[in-house]
Symmetry: C2
């Protein structure tokens, strides 16, 4: 007889986990715990496609209130390459971002950016949009790449069902994604504070969405995304899918609406139970001269701003609004100066993160409905009245 205490079975590493702090109707206030710290949800993830949130230093990204950044597997596998990032110590160190990272699976970009692809049971063969070279990507390689990047949250490889799609197309596509989800899970190696999220597909067909949820929850993931939306179906259809699908997902795990969206999309989706978002809109709009404000979106190229010495939004305390006039930002955008992109990107991310902070506080305070009504009313006001152009030139 062995007198030593029986050896305990090795503890399963605790993956990324979710803590639900408060609810207001369907809206949820939570904390996503990862290997690189916690994320307050509902959270917006700026997109750092090529290992950089465009035109922002990482310290500035953090200063906007951002706690998690999304990076793209497709772009990084092509340049600089996943093995190179791994040899350089992983994506956090490479891009000097020590907070949580989420990587997508590459599936969406392969379908939308790459050329001449063949799709089969094992994945996709595609041509790089950079140099035309051939690459393969499937569930195992996608998860392997995300592991090489050392991401906190990896996503299952899936097919983003196009819109419109017939019911049969959507079903076939969804079932393929579910088989890939199983293969992604099998390839994923659990590590402390890391997680793999499954992605619900099924187009706008609610019963397909429900079957997809069942398939994924049977496999089991650290979180669940709703994919295949914001692809042209319109906000009403998107909200309907979210409203019907979110309640089917496990309450104790985070829910991520991929590729969404405009400010009012975020407010509406949070009210329908979503915890995580990503979208290129605030950063891309910064590069095209758009500024998001409480009173709607401004086009800073517009001549009405040329002589206006007021900030974009006098209630905003981002560096662009504290230090610079509309006239100056208008000038920078007209002159195609990089500083214009830097300031507008910062402002837009600040706006998005302030909106998320407002949503979180509203849920905590049980006044989500009032917050949403106030948001909508203020957006409807439109921009402050124009100044007469003071310039004599």
């Amino acid at each position: 007889m062995n007198h030593e205490p029986q050896a305990l079975a090795p503890l399963q590493p605790v993956g990324a986990s979710f803590e639900l702090l408060a609810r207001d109707d369907q809206a949820r206030r939570g904390l996503l715990h990862t290997a690189h710290g916690a994320v307050n949800t509902p959270a917006f993830m700026p997109v750092g496609t090529a290992a950089t949130v465009k035109a922002m230093l990482p310290g500035s990204v953090a200063a906007t209130g951002t706690e998690i950044v999304l990076a793209n597997t497709y772009h990084l596998m092509l340049r600089p390459g996943a093995e190179r990032v791994a040899a350089l110590g992983g994506l956090h160190r490479f891009m000097n971002w020590d907070r949580p990272l989420l990587t997508d699976s590459g599936g969406f970009q392969v379908m939308s950016l790459a050329g001449l692809r063949t799709l089969g049971e094992d994945g996709v063969v595609f041509k790089s949009h950079l140099d035309g070279s051939l690459h393969a990507l499937g569930p195992e390689r996608s998860v392997e790449i995300q592991e090489l990047l050392d991401t906190d949250i990896a996503m299952c490889f899936d097919e983003c069902t196009p819109f419109p799609a017939t019911r049969e197309q959507a079903e076939t596509s969804m079932l393929l994604s579910m088989r890939w989800a199983e293969r992604s899970r099998a390839r994923f190696r659990p590590r402390p504070g890391r997680g793999l999220f499954g992605i619900v597909q099924g187009g706008v067909y609610l019963d397909l969405r429900a079957r997809s949820v069942m398939a994924l929850t049977k496999i089991g993931f650290e979180g669940y995304a709703i994919g295949g939306l914001a692809v042209g179906e319109g906000q009403a259809a998107m909200f309907q899918v979210v409203e019907q699908t979110a309640p089917l997902l496990p309450a104790e795990q985070p829910r991520y609406l991929m590729g969404v969206g405009k400010p009012d999309d975020l407010v509406g989706a949070v009210m329908r139970g979503i915890d995580l978002f990503d979208c290129v809109l605030p950063t891309r709009s910064g590069r095209t001269g758009q500024a998001f404000t409480r009173r709607g979106t401004l086009n800073m190229r517009n001549a009405r701003h040329g002589g206006d010495d007021r900030p974009i939004d006098d209630g905003c305390d981002c560096p662009a609004c504290r230090g610079y006039s509309r006239a100056y930002i208008h000038h920078l955008i007209r002159a195609q100066e990089i500083l214009g992109v830097m300031l507008l990107t910062w402002h837009n991310l600040h706006y998005y993160q302030a909106l998320m902070a407002g949503l979180r506080a509203a849920i905590e305070g049980g006044r989500m409905a009032e917050f949403a009504a106030g948001f909508e009313a203020e957006q409807g006001l439109g921009d402050i009245p124009s100044l007469a152009d003071r310039s004599t030139g």
Copy 2:
């Protein structure tokens, strides 16, 4: 009889002034006092062409050690317009830079950038490079524009004599610039802490340079620039002109070598008595992937940096060198990411300003010659040996 004390004649406002703190042979250590603070000389002025040092927030420009920025009259008169900048509170407020500013006269850019110009005794008529519109610029309007911009240091309108030029061409051009200098001085309205600098011309003809100095010092300015160099004559010819011309200038006033230059140009010109410099090189090079270092210039696009986890310069404490590897910056430049331009511009300005700080300390310590020898030896070393590329990708 009037028992009241006799009214004093109104005090002449004290313009921008120069304080000579130390000398080492011809090299000078000084302070240029302006309405927006003092500038430690020898000083390097980054170029903020269109009211922005490209890809840099003003706070970051200051963090490099920059105390004065140059802005371009030609660009600003065309966009957004001098009257508009004045209506918006002047250039400092417009670009959120509360330290000293120097503006050029527009003369150089009119000759190099604008189209279809006619040159006469009163100035130049030219076509805007932006929209082809016709504009006139001469000594009076140039000084007026610089006053509207509310600059600390204005420059006389001059013709930058092309290289090569015959003796006769150089003389005719220089004499025109001297007449314009007189008209610029007449139009300039003295204000406290503001100054107008004259510009020595004369090409590579030393006697013409001497005559130009005599003409300018007879008029009298708050400082003197040597113009018409770094236009193709080569470093040896440039140094000869500087060496022969600088000692003719008043010792108690600042000397500015316009449009110069490479790091070794700065060291050589400081040894020959120059106090102020401006050049687009550190900022423009940042946009083309070049990094200045103690051991010479690196091309960050080069594949040798692709797997290199070391900073650009491990002795540099700029944000680019403290937070990022050569591999990452290489990746950003290859991917044409704005952050690559931001980091390299910051690094290059930091390098230039650290070089100027080193020169100032060397002059104070009476070891300028050793500093120059050490600088040259280190530049000659070339880059640190390449790492084997650790990537398996």
